[in-house]
Amino acid sequence: MGCLFALPALSQSALGAGLRLSPNAQLHPGVDAGEWLLSELNCSACHTATVEEQKRLAPRRSPILSEIGSRATPQHLRAFLSDPQSVKPGTPMPDLLHALTPSARSEAVDALVHYLSSLRGTNVPAASGASAHLIQQGQRLYHTVGCVACHAPQDRPDSLGQDAFSALESASIPLGPLARKTTVDALAQFLQDPLKTRPSGRMPSLNLGRGEALAIATYLLREQASSGPKGPRVRMPGLHYDYFETLVHATAGLESAAPTLSGSVEQFTLAPKRRDEQIGFRFTGALTVPREATYTFFVASDDGAKLWIDGQVIVDNDGVHAPSEKSGKLALKAGEHSIALLYFNEYAGGELAVRWQEEGHGKRPIPSAALSHTSESMQPLEPENLALDPAKVARGETLFGSMGCAACHLGAAPGKGPSSAAPALAALRTDAPKGCLGSPGPAAARFAFSEEQRAAMRTTLSKPSKLREPLLPKAQLARTLAALNCLACHSRDGAGGPTEARNGFFTTANNEDLGDEGRMPPHLSGVGDKLRTDWIQKVLLEKAAVRPYMAARMPQFGKENVGMLPDLFEKADSVGASAAQVPAPSAADEKFGRQLVGTGGLSCIACHVFSGRKSLGVPALDLTMISQRLKHDWFARYLVDPAALRPGTRMPSFWPEGKAANKDILNGDTSRQIEAIWNYLAAGRAAKLPEGLVPVGVELKPSNEAVLYRHFIEGGGSRAIGVGYPEKANLAFDANQLRLALIWHGKFIDAGKHRRDRGDGYQPPLGDDVLRLPEGAPFARLGAADAPWPAESGKSAGYQMKGYQLDALQRPAFRYTFSGVNVEDYTMAFAHEPEPGLRRRIQLRSDTALAGLYFRAAVGAQILQKGGGYQVDNRLTLRFQLPPGATPIIRKSGGASELLIPLNTTATSFELTEELTW
């Protein structure tokens, strides 16, 4: 029966491209296509079937229309009933009104629209507002959680050509004109529980939370936000923002600027920014305070930010400065208060964090649940104001029964079930000229069959006796997998799995390192041999999931639709190993299992999560779930040759060809080792943690000489060189920007993060009083004394790292060059009260005079000359020894204070000493 249904484009008929049902149905060799269509189209609703036939066909249940009036707009119902195929090409909904005259047809449609619109139930959908944030979130969810396994992606990805994309669209279940059909709230309710109105499970539940469903619904109806009629303003979660691309030096500069972009965000974030420098944000909305109390608000920013509550400035962290935090306190009554924040960044690094603290509680970010704003509500497109006419409603109700709608759509008009005069299923003549398969007469329904679909049904109906035989388990399995489109995601016995065009939409939620195993749903070949029946049931009916790293979700299809699958898999796949063959667990070997799993053995935890704890590397499946999920026999076979049972897996065999790689534990006895692991893991989460799982800190302690640590250091850059001094003052030198980046007191650094596992991420200093020193080039030639400090640094500013020399106590003298100047930058620590300090000697040598060069010693909101030194933001004190004639300058530049040392010398060398205490 070949590829009848995936390639409807091949069979363009007057009625369109055929019915678009499960796009992968053709992949099941065991499925009789005609029979499957009889089931999917619920033919036995009109053509009476015997009990045997009904059981074999297990007809798909049609949507329940009892509350359709609250979900679908009159304008949509009118268009759809008038011509189902033109509104939703490929819909299995037949045209029952095709034989009426145009005027009778439009009268019938009108009556049906009135009737269906009157079916509202008690559910009144809420208005929902437009939100750029929700649309973005919905776009991501729609394209990752699994929607596009059956439906078409909304935009053509770069990887697909136009032809491939069109082919993909026509091999997808159509969504229809949703923006005209429904509202955000109604669609979101449907997405959260599709089985409620569509009990067939063809549209399964993806276990979406309310917020997720709302986001996808807002995304799918986004046209309503851009071009639809606007409804009354409604409250939306999060904040409204205006984003500016302009150079300002204080927040006041934004007041008169025009925003580049506006939208909404969940909370205070710079995420919508399109560049890093010369930008600003205005956030506005309402803050809901849970209870009356005194609240402290904290705003940490680089550069400036200002926070208003109820129109009063609460935190003023304005001006150009390095990252710094300020706070303000006020008493707030429970309930809603207006909140606004202005932020800008002039040059270089920008950041913003807004937190609050209720008196007596911890400091934390303001949760998005406490933030809201209003926006215009989204309304369905092309609205039709329908005043329900009781006469038309009654007429529609009659038609709904008499035209045959009620045959499928039970529950709409109770008691108005099929009163069909259609021939019984067994009596159907495949060549009836006026039947559904022919040129339908008034009594028949007009389906948009393709020729292939028609032929398939004719073939099946020509042997009606077959339909009375019970369906064998294998065929039932194949039919179920076809009907529910399981093969869109899973392959089984070499068929199915994501098609090439859809492949790219299967992504990892958080871990690319897992490769395809981190993004592709597992294959189902032999799944009944692999998984315990009760586990399959948990996956199908109880939302059990063990692959949190996969973005696609295992949907829930409903017990009536998949309840039989665990048994069917067991029957189809079981190779006969029964539970009785499992040797009794031997407690004695458990400890060897633990050894094997840990770092001293086979280091399974290098990749596998254990009892919810992170592995040392990638987050592969949690080992403590194994005995709940897997059959013992499969487990033993899998460990010996993983690739045989899971082609392409990166799980290595530790018993290649059955021989144990580890000969030390249990004398390298393969079956005892595997048994020991099984026994150990059988305890599930109660299993004692294996060795090597709990991270151990590795504090580097300078004792009698300095210790260097060259790695990713938070605040010091990707090429940081940390130096810990025995005096307990420490620094990090940034070898990208060639600057002193961090200084801190006390403990030096914990090297554990980088020495364990794969060593990912930046390590912060271990000690206290961590000061981040300004980013950017340390030296610059300024055209004029008031010229702004250049934004470029590092290689782009002509700086080049040259290395370092260690003195006898391992203290480095860093060497670097810029514009023909050689710099040696050497720091030692010294005892000082109450905390040790650092003394830095900088020597410059050049072939030409150094005049015109400046050293930027500090940047801060406030720099004061005090007692022979300079105090930066009340935190850092700098004292200098300078050659005669060199005098530090404090200047305002870009809203901040800078401490510059002019190297105003005609000499070709210069030496300064800088003492840092903090």
Binding site: T599, A661, G717, R719, R758, Q805
Partner: protein
């Protein structure tokens, strides 16, 4: 030829040991009995119960006299004890003057092993030469300087005050960038004939190229200048030269890499992964940016469209041969390491093995075969280096990726016992089949029987997603096997060679003249180009 030949059961070996070992090594009373247990018992009794040192000596002799595996009969593995609390995880190895071995570690140390050839290694003399470096994955000594490739730069160091520790560290080149991603590794080679060091730079997160030149090979000249050399790199595991001095690196299975492979680096070439090609604007010495390959295609199909694309010289079929190809060396010992002169010995981190590679040039391009060689290393093989005595030093780590060996790190030495294993020595492509040579004369009746051989071919999908199954499988017909007059070779005539496919050969029925089966009866030849 067998300069290291030591008769296994000869007590002359003991004399040799006594000469080599420090004076405080006790004399060992030892006589081989029928079983390992009997011999051990007798030896410990003869040596008064045995001090820890005696026990170690006895264990070493027992290992020699009672090989643990078939492979161990020919290639024996010694394990170095390490200084306490040292996380060795050797990323690179090189020789320093005076026969000292420099070992760089993941944690940023460089250790010196002063007596690496002590046998057995009972008293390893370790000292720390440098520390605080950033994950060194390349070491090369030249003219008083030890060069190292750190994540962010090539650095050279020197001990100027003679205290045994380096104190002067000079940045030689840092023309690439790192962004804080752990996967942005940098592997450095030894110096090529022009004195250049070749650096291969892993992609960001092994999928994208977020920092300058990630996914590239740069050459660093003796003057410290960098030359963009090859693009298309994904996730290297090692870099080195063959006997002709041509540069190769291993690249690991992943996006655009169907399986791990050994690849020949030729300046101007594109090695297959297009993520890093965004940096062609910084490589003005090279021609235009290559066309982007089409995902889902095959390597040789794309190679015909993209002139710069260089197909891998040898695939290591995944997971049959290995799962994480790593460092390698070329056997230049002129026979001290056994019968495989000038072949490459390539580590596999996951399998804790060393594989063997034979390369030939067909249509001007390197291709060839890989063979299993030695398994059972203590940790995941990563850095490999050959010594002047022919033995191989293998540094291992599990580094967040599990390895069969099971130990988190190790340094081991593999040496040839002087006994020749029965192995395929070389596998050469011929227009109508393959030519095999063997390390020992073959039994002409089994070797001449076509049924002694089984062959299957396959290739990989060349695609942007991770790895590939074996696809386009075929089963060529072995029409005949002709044994060479000296019984050292077999000419296979095969119908159905597949250009661009791996040809997997099994030789279960083949026997040596002495009736022995092959130690490793399998070979995997990457036939990118048919022999003319």
């Amino acid at each position: 030829m067998n300069r290291l030949l030591i008769p296994i059961f000869s007590l002359a070996w003991l004399a040799a040991l006594c000469v080599k070992a420090p004076a405080d090594v006790p004399q060992l009373q030892y006589k081989k009995l029928a079983t390992r247990a009997e011999t051990e018992k007798a030896a410990l009794e003869a040596n008064a119960g045995g001090s820890p040192e005696i026990k170690a000596l006895v264990a070493d002799r027992l290992d020699l006299d009672f090989p643990k595996t078939e492979e161990d009969k020919y290639y024996h593995l010694l394990t170095f004890s390490l200084p306490p609390d040292v996380q060795l995880e050797p990323g690179a190895l090189d020789w320093m003057p005076g026969g000292k071995l420099a070992v760089s570690t993941r944690v940023g140390d460089i250790w010196i092993l002063a007596n690496p050839t002590e046998q057995p290694p009972l008293h390893p003399q370790w000292s720390r030469y440098a520390s605080g470096l950033h994950e060194v994955l390349g070491l090369a000594y030249r003219e008083g300087w030890l060069y190292c490739t750190q994540r962010g730069e090539v650095t050279r160091m020197k001990d100027t005050d003679g205290d045994g520790r380096a104190d002067l560290f000079e940045t030689v080149n840092d023309d690439w960038n790192i962004g804080g991603d752990y996967h942005e590794y940098a592997f450095g080679s030894k110096f090529d004939r022009e004195g250049n060091m070749w650096v291969v730079l892993c992609l960001t997160g092994s999928f994208t190229s977020e920092s300058t030149f990630r996914g590239w090979c740069l050459r660093v000249t003796p003057e410290g200048k960098s030359i963009p050399t090859c693009s298309g790199i994904r996730s290297p595991g090692g870099i080195g030269m063959n006997a002709a001095g041509d540069m190769f690196y291993t690249d690991n299975q992943g996006p655009w890499n169907g399986a791990c492979a050994l690849k020949h680096l030729v300046p101007g070439d594109f090695m297959g992964n297009p993520e890093g090609n965004r940096w062609y604007n910084l490589a003005t010495n090279l021609g235009p940016r290559p066309l982007s390959p089409k995902s889902g295609s095959r390597m040789m199909t794309e190679a015909k469209k993209i002139p710069q694309l260089r197909p891998p010289a040898v695939y290591f079929p995944y997971p049959k041969m290995g799962q994480s190809a790593s460092g390698f060396f070329c056997d230049l010992s002129d026979g001290l390491f056994g019968p495989f002169q000038k072949q490459l010995f390539v580590g596999d981190q996951t399998h804790s093995t060393v594989m063997r590679v034979y390369l030939e040039k067909i249509q001007g391009r390197y291709q060839g075969a890989c063979f299993p060689f030695r398994e059972g290393f203590a940790s995941g093989s990563l850095s490999l280096l050959q010594g002047t005595d022919g033995s191989a030093f293998v540094g291992g780590t599990d580094r967040g990726w599990g390895a069969r060996g099971g130990k988190p790190f190790a340094l081991q030495r593999l040496y040839w016992r002087g006994v020749t294993p029965f192995e395929i020595q070389e596998m050469r492509a011929k227009p109508d089949g393959f030519e095999l040579t063997f390390t020992e004369p073959v039994d002409p009746s089994t070797a001449g029987e076509a049924g002694s051989y089984k062959m299957e071919t396959y290739t990989y999908i060349y695609q942007s997603s991770y790895g590939s199954p074996e696809v386009d499988k075929t089963t060529p017909v072995i029409q005949g096997a002709t044994v060479a007059p000296d019984h050292r070779g077999v000419r296979l005539r095969i119908d159905g060679l597949q250009e661009g496919h791996v040809h997997e050969l099994h030789l279960p029925g083949l026997r040596s003249e002495k009736g022995a089966p092959l130690l490793h009866p399998a070979a995997y030849y990457t036939l990118n180009y048919l022999a003319p």
